[in-house]
Amino acid sequence: MHKEGVKKFPYYVGINSLAEVATREDRVCVLNILGTESRTVTPVSHEFSGGNVVFGTSPGRSGQALETKVGAIPVFNSVREGIEAGHKFDTAVIYLPPAGVKDGVAEVVRFNPDLRKIVIITEKVPVHDARIIRAICQTNGVDIFGANCLGIADAWNKVRIGGALGGSKPEESLVKGSIAIYSNSGNFTTTIAVYLLTKGWGTTTSISSGKDVYIHFAPREFFNALDNDERSKGAVVYIEPGGYYEADLEINKPTVACVVGRWKARLTKACGHAGSLAGSGDDARAKEKWFMEYFGVDGIYTPEKPIYSKKGAVVTNIAHIPEALTKVMELNGIEPDFEPRGDLSLKCWFSSNAGLPLPQDLDIKTVRAISPYGEQIEEVNKQIGAMYPRQSMKDASGASMMDPATQVTKLHGVSVLDASRRSLEENLVMSLLKDYPSDYGRALANVAFNAYLNLHNDITVLASDAAREAENSPNTVLSTALSVLGKGKVKGAVEVSTLLLELFQYSGLKDPTGDFDFSSILKGLDGEKKRLLKADKGDTLAQTVLKKIDSLEGKSVFIEFIKSATQGKPSLDAILSAIWMTLGWEALMTKRISRNTILMLPWYSRIFSTMVGASVPAKKHTKDSFCGVKCKELIEEWGFTESTFLALIGRKPTDVELFEFSMLLGLLISNGPGTISAQGCKGGVSADGPESPQRVQINKAFVGFLTHTGFAHGGNGYEAIEFLIERFRDRDLGNPSDRNHGIDLKKMADEYASWYKNYKAEQKAIGNIDYMKIPCVNHPVFKGKPVNYDPRERFVKELFDEKGIYNIFHDFYLHLVQALFDARVTPNVWCVNVDAVIAVILLKIVWDAYKKGSMTEKEIENAAFTTFLFGRMIGCAAEIDDHINRGRNMDTRTPASQCRFVG
């Protein structure tokens, strides 16, 4: 049984004209008004429609209100409560979750006899519920729009009911005119309206029908209401496959039907609720045919082959709608509603070729966007450098990530294995700029690092000496030095960076190593600013550095600029800043680094230099030399990796040693944000409050890293060295790189394995489960196969083999894991892990000094620990910078509720 409505329908339909769909008189109640979607959409609809929402419901929230620009909408627990409070409405909008929609309809129908319309926005309403909803509303004489729709709107009445037709600015798309729109797609309802504007057509009523199995206000009802609406002179319908709602229609006004979705017929499963399947009679082609028959046309309208009649046209591309409609209306003698607004040609708002030579026809240039987007784009284009949304960076990183399967960590997308083939200076630059420098950039970085290596008479090295004398571990010694390197010590360089950024940020400079005319910038530079760049009298180091830079193959706009501004006499601080501006500029302009990062680069640079410089006692820093090498020579001839080797071992490395040492440092870069060292530096940033990035003390964050290393984390690398020294101490081993060492490694390994087997059995027999373990064999991830390998160890081994580099200690380790298996100490052949690789490389480097007695075991232990710190400072620099850019204040804290008391 259904209530009687419009007589021509054998079921209830109340709306007889499109003018009745959404009127100024409709009064609306919104169910679940405080839901996430409704909270944003309802106020816009309410304001656009002159305040048509009388109340909303949200169980348990009675008394609250939804604020809008035209007054607050009261909220009640239920429909009954709202009605009892004296509110009257004839239209309900449903934003309930799918499982609640049927009950919502029942509630609103049961308690409001005045109800005439329901708009259901909710998606994914079960078909079971949809059929009951229809039955309830048929019995009670209520029209339904949806479910799974975006609601209804009327441009004449300036009313929008239900969903978000027209988004947050409905007036942009709902422009008064003569065309009615009916669309299976919510988004296309207004997209079509906007497209119509380009040919001068406005709209009357727009209906988003939804695309569920049950469409209650279907094309049949729409075309009847269209006939009875004097305002509507024509219509556009957008139709998708599935369902017989378009069969046997009576269409009396000029109409363009857009039928899309032929591809869906190829699917073997239903697509969407009302999806059609292969071979069913309601696919897109069938629907195209129905409409072609209504219009008396024999094909699809395209601009190339326009097929249309006075009755209408069928298109399969929404872009063809405006043109087809105009043609059809022309045959009916109906002119567009107004002058065309905008056009549909390609308008590119943002573009980049990423340096590729795109063919001309594809190389579409950007144009100014329509208002207000053009103005907004102008604003965002003024933003220099990367901007990241702030979030809690506890245990998170935008810099490093460890792959749990391979245990290989990547820093800025570069695996530590690849990084280990690079020099220290290259990796330090990459840690902050997210990319490796060019040869010129690398040379500049070497100059910057080496220029500040000598700490003669500097308080930092005096402080670290005091810490060393007090028998502190290397990390503590270095943190003492860095504690002194506060913001005040780098103030000059940071000021210069700030000045250079201000001067060049909107200058159009893209490549700071190319040609650039800075004469106009130079002209505007006042005396005070020039003084900031100028060297004090007698700054000979600055001149040495400048001479070196001038001799390099390459040119820097910033170096040239500071030279021009100071008549060739810039200060060392100014040079340091100019170097880092040169290195970081492209990364800044392409938004790979932030503004704050580029300003702080000189500080990082000084920290790296000080880390290495302060690792040797003050007595090795003289007025003009460092560890016995003249500073001039260091600046002019040495790479920073070599200088670092010098600081550790006391001499210049050979080429092979340099390669091995770089590899060693590269492997140590990072193990992801979860390591204690990373946590330490991140805590240091978090506590200073990265939301005010300029306040973060970068040296203190490095101190956080250093204090979060120790004998167990970083210092433990020595265990394997100690183990190997014990094995080789009494052997007659001269050069560990010599394959013809004359030592029977297999025998040595077998003997040790046999001894270890007995030792282990004895210890277990006496109940000592804490017996000595062999360091650096086995790994929790790389285990369980007959023969196991740590992929990182394999990588290094292959690289060494490729270069013909031999390492007896590594070879011994490989014999040892086999011997342990042969002696049945291990169930399979364990892997030699990456820590062993680090130990064998370092031991090989110091072996000669150890044998000669110029390096004690204690010094080797310190060197091992310090090497770890040098490698890890690369990764920690990246973590610190990343946390400053992305983190929130105090974000590394653990909530009290997650902490445990252990009594």
Binding site: P126, I132, I136, S168, G242, W263, A274, W349, Y373
Partner: protein, 437 residues
């Protein structure tokens, strides 16, 4: 979500005490099959396919046997038989043995929600056992009924009388068919079809009993009621590819997440927003599209991020173009959705290394410029080429542009980009592949 065959069908019919033919599964022993042949005189051997596969009988996929040797031979023939229907190829996984049901009458019966009547509708004919589409309309009765009261005996008797069905079948059908509404209405069905129902004489009373001899059902994925049937999930697994299954796990009511694999060898991956855009873009892209998707409906950041991760994981490496496309969103927050996609892209590059890609975007909606700027910054960071168009560019023109870019990337863009990044080995590999094709 479709279910065909009696193996599971008879268990569902049992829930409402609707008689069905005796059935044994693939695990049946020789003795059991023998016993079934002895009891029923004959067995039908049918391959088990997951989901719908069209007409099995026509394709010679039904064996029949009156002795165990033939039965086993047919089992061997059909156990892993391959079947092609439409564009799809599927392989059987096992067979069922169904006891023959002697009968003089075969009935077709189905219930589904009809878009013609906008009501649940029974379709019935006593000329069953054939394709329903092949029968003239006057031999079929379609009866819509009120979902609040359900399918009643009188619907069945009136329909059969109108069709002029033999009198002896009316009463047993009137008694039994309404039970199927209980099944349909309570367990999230969107279709139940029994064809044929064989009207078999009861050995004791001689009265005719309707026995379901085949079973077909579809379920409404959005109606949790089908879960009450506790069917094993693998029954529906083959309906979806691994990729689709992974995305479907994120199916919650806020935000669409409908995806289909269009061409596993496609070169344009297009996260599409809105059903309309999805229909249009998939149609225009044709075989170039890896997937067809609709991610509209204002998905929250986390959902969009997870969806993007899955999409990228499966499709990015082979794609020349990442094509993010939608109309002017009414409600979907562009900043949130673009931020999620950009972050997922960044994560992909970080995890898997760079992959050559041209990004083409066409979009409008709330927070548009913020979202586009975030995406731009990310793409700049990843050093990817891109074009971002506003909603005032015709969507189909943006699609055409994406297709032209696809051609160029395939021809030389991919290699140029790899060389620019210094990934020379892969550039060489790709060149070889390109020359080979």
């Amino acid at each position: 979500m479709q279910l065909t065959g009696l193996l599971w069908g008879h268990r569902l019919l049992k829930k409402v005490e609707f008689p069905s033919a005796e059935v044994l599964g693939p695990e049946a022993s020789v003795d059991e099959i023998k016993a079934l042949i002895q009891k029923c005189g004959e067995v039908f051997i049918k391959p088990i396919f997951k989901g719908g596969v069209g007409k099995k009988g026509k394709a010679g996929l039904i064996g029949r046997a009156k002795d165990i040797e033939t039965a086993l031979r047919e089992k061997e023939r059909l156990y892993f038989v391959e079947h092609t229907f439409g564009n799809t190829k599927t392989k059987a996984d096992g067979v069922t043995f169904e006891g023959a049901v002697p009968a003089q009458h075969e009935v077709y019966f189905s219930i589904t929600d009809s878009t013609v009547y906008r009501a649940p509708t029974m379709t019935i004919t006593h000329h069953g056992g054939v394709d329903i589409e092949e029968l003239p309309k006057d031999k079929i009765a379609q009866v819509p009924f009120d979902p609040l009261t359900g399918l009643k005996s009188y619907h069945v008797s009136n329909a059969l009388e109108d069709l002029g069905a033999p009198r002896e079948i009316i009463s047993p059908l009137v008694q039994n068919l309404p039970k199927l509404w209980t099944l349909y209405n309570n367990y999230g069905f969107s279709l139940i079809e029994l064809n044929p129902i064989r009207m078999s004489p009861d050995p004791r009373s001689g009265r005719l009993v309707p026995v379901a001899c085949d079973f077909k059902a579809s379920f409404d994925i959005d109606d949790p009621a089908w879960k009450r049937l506790e069917l094993p999930p693998h029954l529906f697994a083959s309906d979806y590819s691994e990729f689709e299954q992974e995305i479907n796990q994120l199916r919650t009511y806020q935000g669409q997440s409908d995806v289909f694999v269009i061409n596993p060898h496609g070169t344009i991956t297009a996260p599409t927003f809105g059903g309309g855009a999805n229909a249009l873009v998939t149609e225009l892209l044709g075989e170039r599209a890896t997937i067809s998707s609709d991610f509209g409906g204002n998905p929250p950041y986390e959902k969009m991020f997870q969806i993007s991760r899955i999409v990228f994981k499966y499709w990015l490496r082979q794609s020349n173009v990442l094509f993010i496309i939608g109309g002017k969103a009414n409600n979907t927050d562009i900043y949130e959705t673009f931020r999620a996609m950009a972050d997922a892209l960044r994560e992909y590059f970080h995890k898997n290394g760079p992959t050559p890609l041209f990004v083409v975007i066409g979009r409008g909606g709330p927070n548009l410029v913020r979202g586009m700027a975030y995406m731009r910054d990310t793409l700049d960071t990843l050093r990817l080429p891109y074009r971002i168009f506003g909603h005032d560019s015709a969507m189909s023109e943006v699609v055409n542009y994406a297709m032209k870019i696809d051609d160029w990337m395939q021809k030389e863009g991919r290699r140029m980009l790899l060389e620019k990044w210094g990934v020379v080995d892969r550039a060489r590999e790709e060149l070889k592949e390109y020359v080979a094709t």
